[in-house]
């Protein structure tokens, strides 16, 4: 169910219409879209979720909802992404069933191992580099930690935080199956082009 490596996951940005971002990201070759919007009303979130799910089906991409397991179920999303402050993965699994994909954010080996134990399907690991997309209470984890985690767990890892055209390929060399971005796609003049360049960069052999 998780796309074959290397792949691009695009997370929607609170400052832009998630449906527009998703559509452009899919055009550019994103394999996963994660709907993440912390301040939207339930009704708004559901309506976006249905639109993005339909687009993802068209592009054969995965659609993941951040935090809201209920919105994921209601919109028939492919899965959810859970942060450390969200519902634990093993509880979400009971609600979602075996078929759904559950991703968990981790920023240390301990958190990654716990997520694996809790039945996660992938780990969102980061932030690898400094990032301005989200307020972070801790410093970047760096590529060494990414490598260590990739060597210690068997789940696919999606590297997140400060991913760029320059460093995308090296994250895959460190053991990540894919990368996730927010602003590197949404805050560009041409989000579809930005996504497609990232997909290209991911597939570049390490020089």
């Amino acid at each position: 169910m998780i796309p074959s490596s290397p792949f691009l996951c695009v997370i929607t940005d609170d400052s832009f219409c998630p449906v527009t971002i998703a559509e452009l990201a899919l055009k550019g070759g994103a394999a996963i879209i994660q709907l993440r919007h912390k301040s939207a009303s339930g009704n708004q979130l559901f309506s976006w979720a249905v639109d993005i799910r339909n687009q993802c089906q068209k592009y054969r991409a995965l659609f993941i909802v951040n935090d809201r397991v209920d919105i994921a179920l209601a919109s028939e999303a492919d899965g959810v992404h859970l942060g450390q402050e969200d519902m634990p993965a093993h509880i979400a699994r009971k609600l979602l069933g075996k078929q759904s994909i559950i991703g968990v954010s981790a920023s240390s080996l301990e958190e990654a191992l716990q997520a694996e134990k809790d039945g996660a399907d992938y780990i969102g690991f980061g932030h690898i580099y400094p990032t301005f997309s989200k307020e972070k209470g801790f410093s970047p984890v760096g590529t060494e930690t990414l490598q260590k985690v990739a060597g210690s767990i068997s789940l696919p890892i999606i590297a997140i935080g400060g991913v760029s055209l320059e460093n995308a390929a090296s994250l895959i060399s460190c053991g990540a199956s894919g990368v996730a971005v927010i602003s590197a796609v949404s805050r560009t003049d041409d989000p579809a082009m930005a996504a497609s360049e990232l997909v290209y960069a991911l597939n570049r052999k390490k020089s």
């Binding site: 009303s41 339930g42 009704n43 708004q44 979130l45 559901f46 935090d67 809201r68 397991v69 209920d70 919105i71 179920l73 209601a74 450390q84 402050e85 969200d86 519902m87 634990p88 509880i91 979400a92 009971k94 609600l95």
Partner: protein, 215 residues
């Protein structure tokens, strides 16, 4: 009545809403109130602690579920159907801007779904999407709702109650003094938030209200 088939018996007529946003305390007041409940008549309790993240909310919901409540009471959570299911609560209350009950019913068939309504338009949406009960307000002036403008008043409450067969709980500035007038207008029950915050008078207040709503 059709709506009373949910959970086998009819819904209580009193409705208590926890008030985390006005008084951020991670649910301490709610748990204090719940622990006082066994000495009072049954009621609907809505956990509404929007300042908490999903993990904290789940912990609070599980603690609340562990409190022995008077028989016939229903424990609900604001908005989050997933957390309500995980904590085995009785239902979910959806704000007017929330997603509609019919979107959740397929995977939460046994839950009670209530909807907040502030107008005849939102009444229609709530009815069509299969709400089990309605929360209408603010009927009277109340500090927690002042930022949303003037109260809707008894007349509008009456109009709503007469145009639906669903149970309508009146909310907003309801006191033991004016509560009876809401019932006269056709309300099924009365709901409160601020008035239940003084735990020293909590049981008395609930009992006063119970006398008003008892058929």
């Amino acid at each position: 009545m059709e709506h009373n088939k949910i959970q086998g018996t009819s819904l209580p007529h009193l409705y208590l809403i926890s008030s985390g946003q006005e008084n951020p305390d991670n649910g301490t007041l709610l748990l204090e109130q719940l622990n006082l409940l066994p000495r009072t008549p049954c009621c609907m309790v809505q956990i509404r602690e929007k300042q908490l993240n999903a993990k904290q909310l789940l912990t609070l919901a599980l603690k609340a579920r562990g409190c022995p409540l008077p028989e016939g009471s229903r424990l609900l959570l604001n908005e989050r159907v997933d957390i309500a299911l995980a904590a085995r609560l009785d239902g979910v209350h959806l704000p007017e801007s929330g997603c509609y009950p019919d979107k959740f019913r397929p995977f939460a068939p046994n839950m009670i779904f209530g909807c907040s309504i502030h107008s005849p338009e939102s009444l229609t949406i709530a009815e069509e999407s299969g709400a089990d009960y309605l929360l209408f307000g603010p009927v009277f002036d109340t500090p927690s709702k002042r930022k949303y403008g003037t109260p809707l008043g008894l007349e509008k409450l009456g109009q709503i109650c007469r145009s639906t067969t669903l149970p309508v709980f009146a909310l907003g500035g309801i006191t033991p003094e004016n509560g009876a007038r809401c019932m006269t207008e056709g309300a099924y029950g009365i709901a409160g938030l601020s008035i239940f915050q003084d735990t020293s008078r909590f049981v008395d207040t609930l009992e006063q209200f119970y006398r008003i709503v008892s058929p």
